[in-house]
Subunit: 157 residues, 4 copies
């Protein structure tokens, strides 16, 4: 992934109201991989203390979108066709970590697997795994569309 | 669904930090059905204007949990095993409406379908459909457990 | 759906080795809906007597492909992007009935719900429900491609 | 996995009418992993030559069932709660290989990922990936039930 694409995706992430709300940090982005960290806030927790499933599903969606986008050139946009999440273990910890990897980088359809971990003093717990289908909306044939690039670099951001 | 169960679920909903954040209103709850409305806020929107997929996935999870819980007696708790969402149309509108219906009300496993609509001046758009698998954690054999009832009436709330 | 399309899809179905093996009958096809019946054979049954999940998953795939194809003009071909099946009740009966309906008939992506019923002397049991994502491969812009039409009318047939 | 469990699962596999029909061979079974090979037969192929999606979905279901069962003691039985398959690449080759691994070996719910490869002279193609949710029906508390063991060792076999 070139510098321009990385910058484009990082700017899109920093502008996302949803990511700001979650206090999400884009740790790693590039070549079909994305890692996002979300420190725990009160509204994210169920009464029993673990992160709720809604925050986990949100992270699956967003991290998959950025992973798919990072495997494509500048100004490629994606929309989520469908996502499927399996919740594996209670997400108990001080932060959530999403790690999303592109499995299939197709011309139109990209398939991504995102794994969500809850991280605490005793290490990481595998909270959820997923499969996400994304569709590329534009950018394939026209690698430069500077105007919209400033607006919505990753479709699900 | 009796009065006590309805009240238990409504109280749980009103205590949920996530639902408060979304400004979500529990419109209808009972007998395996649940309707939730979320008025649009800035952080929910993608740059192009539609509700983002993360809010939609969150609503799928929460509405399915309440629908499943509403088909069971007081003090039955659920956890989400897995969820799968298909995004059908851009969710353009002033509010999101989730309507979740129990398809299978099993002893251990409940299966729910939640449909998400974007509502605006020109009517409703079918934004997403889903299938959600929930597992009952407790309450089957012991219909009254007042202590925990005050804490987490619906597992995914 | 015009006569030519109906005939094209029925011919494709009758040529499918998989459908012949299952003894499957295409009962209804048209306008985004498809019904297929499969009489029970020994190899389809688990030791306990119900239809096995593999035959059900196969029917989900095939019926969704024909439903999607029936909403498009002659010589439109589909491939299955992904499918998700929830098994609801033991599929006990003398035949399986698949009923598939298009939920979203998009330009590239179609989303179909297929429900599978086990039919016996005491009526129908809802054995499984599903969501299937299909992608149109060709035919959108060129409604007539007679040569390939004879070969593979429905991508998953 | 002890000898007795391995033998129990291999006997169940060899008795399965569905597996006999597919000419399927159980290559590896044990400790939450299962590998099955299916040589190509005419009825499995679509007109264009690749394995059809129905055979792939069947293999996902069966291999996941055996993988889940292999992580449990003798006389544990599973049923498939739901399965989700993403088709990644055309399954062109002389045989299909299913490799299924348990991700979560829970008390009630097991989650398995099955990957399907098409194998030919030029190597393996990643045809499909999946996530499968299985529920244990029995065997947890009573490790020996010799009578039923002879009948249906793996629920989805």
């Amino acid at each position: 992934m070139n510098e321009e694409r990385q910058q484009q995706l990082r700017e899109g992430f920093s502008r996302s109201g949803m990511m700001q709300l979650l206090g999400a940090q884009l740790q790693v982005i590039g070549n079909g991989f994305c890692e996002i960290i979300v420190p725990r806030q009160d509204f994210m927790a169920r009464p029993a203390g673990m992160f709720n499933g809604a925050v986990i599903a949100s992270l699956v969606d967003v991290s998959s979108g950025y992973a798919a986008a990072s495997a494509k050139p500048v100004d490629s946009y994606f929309t989520t066709v469908e996502l499927k999440v399996n919740y594996l273990n209670p997400a108990i910890g001080e932060s959530l970590i999403a790690r999303a990897s592109v499995i299939k980088n197709g011309k139109v359809i990209s398939v991504v697997r995102a794994d969500i971990y809850a991280s605490g003093p005793e290490g990481e717990t595998h909270a959820a795994t997923s499969l996400v289908t994304m569709m590329q909306l534009s950018g394939k044939k026209s690698p430069r569309q500077p105007k919209s690039a400033a607006e919505d670099p990753a479709a699900e951001a």
